[in-house]
Symmetry: C2
C-alpha cells in the first residue's frame, strides 16, 4: 500500500522472532513516537553496529580494545570462565557471584551449522593460559550435544597444561524446575552428584 | 558493560512488547548481520518515519498526498469504511472483500487516555460526506467501550445526513472461536442476528 511502510515492515521482520504482524505493529508505533526519538534510536543502532569492538584478550564485546572486565584490577585474574557467547557473560555477571575473567568462544562446534573449532576463539584462550597467570578454567557451555562436543574438544586441547584446574558449572535440577519434567539424564546426574544438607 | 551495547538495548527496549532480554537478543543478532544490512534497515526506518504522509482525503498512511486507495479509479467511491487505525485498513484489504474507500479515524474516543472527539479525524469524514458522492458509511470500530462510544458519537454527527445509509460490521462468533468461551453479550447478539442456512 505505502511503499515506505512496506519497506519498513520488510526490514523489521528480518529480525529474529519478529513476524510481519509484529513488524507492522512496531512500524505503526514508530509513527506515534517523536521523529527525534526514532532517529536517535536508529543512530544508536548504527553506532553500536559500526563502533563495537571485541576485546582482544577475552573476545567479549567492548567499546575499547580491552573490555572493562579484563581491564578491571579488582577481578581475579587466576580464573577464566569460558562461555559460548556475549549474552552468557551478561547472565553470569548479573548473578554477582563471579569475580574472575571470561572468555567468549563465539559459538559452539556444530558440524550441522558448519561451525568448526577453528571458527571459535579457542587458540586465543590457549595463548592466554600459556602466559601462566590462569590457574582455573571454568567451562560454562550448554549441555547440548554441540556444547558437550565443544567441551570435550577444549578439554583435549587443555591436556598440554597438566597443572591447570579445569571445572565445569554444576549440572542438576534448576531452581523452580519440577523433577517430574526434568529429563532422565539430568535426574541421574543430579542424584549421582547429590550434596549433603547441613543438619543444624 | 559496553556502553554501545547498553545504549542499543536501551533504545530497542523502548519499543512495545520488547523487554530488555529481547532487546539484547536483537542487538546481538545485529552483530551477526552484515553492517550494510543493519545500516539499510536503519535508513529504511528513518525514511519511513520522516517521509510518510497521511492521505488528505482518508487519513490513511501514504507516500503521496492522496493514498493509492483514494486515487484508484476502480474503487467504489459511494461507500466508505470508517476504521480506527491504519492497521485495520490493511486487515480489511487483506480479505479482498471490500472495494470501497476507507476513512482512518486515528484512534477512538477515550476519556481515560485523554482522547477527545476533536483528536480524531471526524470533521474530515463529514466534509467528505458533505460532497455528496458517499452513499453508505460502514462503521468498522472495535466492540470495546471506547469503540462503542466512538460509534455512537459518529452516529449522532451523521444525523445531519438523513439520506446516508449507515451500517456496522457484523458482530458474532468469530470463525474458529468456541461458543463455550464467547461472552454472553456476543452469544446473545449472535442468536438474535442469526442467518438462515440455504437448504440445498
Amino acid at each position: 500500500m505505502s511503499k515506505l511502510l512496506d519497506d519498513a515492515v520488510g526490514e523489521l521482520s528480518r529480525l529474529p522472532g519478529i513476524g510481519r504482524r509484529t513488524a507492522l505493529r512496531l512500524a505503526l508505533h514508530m509513527l506515534r513516537m517523536e521523529r527525534e526519538d526514532v532517529s536517535r534510536m536508529t543512530q544508536v543502532i548504527d553506532s553500536f553496529r559500526n563502533g563495537i569492538k571485541y576485546c582482544s584478550y577475552c573476545n567479549n564485546l567492548s567499546d575499547e580494545d580491552i573490555c572493562p572486565i579484563c581491564s578491571d584490577p579488582s577481578r581475579d585474574r587466576s580464573m577464566v570462565c569460558v562461555v559460548e557467547q556475549v549474552g552468557d557473560v551478561l547472565s553470569i555477571e548479573n548473578t554477582r557471584q563471579y569475580n574472575g575473567l571470561y572468555h567468549v568462544l563465539g559459538g559452539v562446534i556444530s558440524p550441522m551449522q558448519g561451525i568448526a573449532p577453528s571458527d571459535l576463539k579457542i587458540d586465543l584462550l590457549l595463548d592466554n593460559i600459556a602466559r601462566g597467570e590462569i590457574k582455573e578454567v571454568i567451562l560454562a557451555v550448554s549441555t547440548t550435544v554441540e556444547g558437550e562436543t565443544t567441551l570435550f574438544y577444549i578439554m583435549r586441547r587443555l591436556e598440554q597444561f597438566p597443572e591447570l584446574k579445569v571445572t565445569t558449572i554444576a549440572r542438576g535440577i534448576g531452581f523452580g524446575d519440577e523433577i517430574e519434567y526434568a529429563d532422565e539424564l539430568t535426574i541421574a546426574h543430579a542424584i549421582h552428584n547429590r550434596t549433603q544438607i547441613s543438619r543444624q
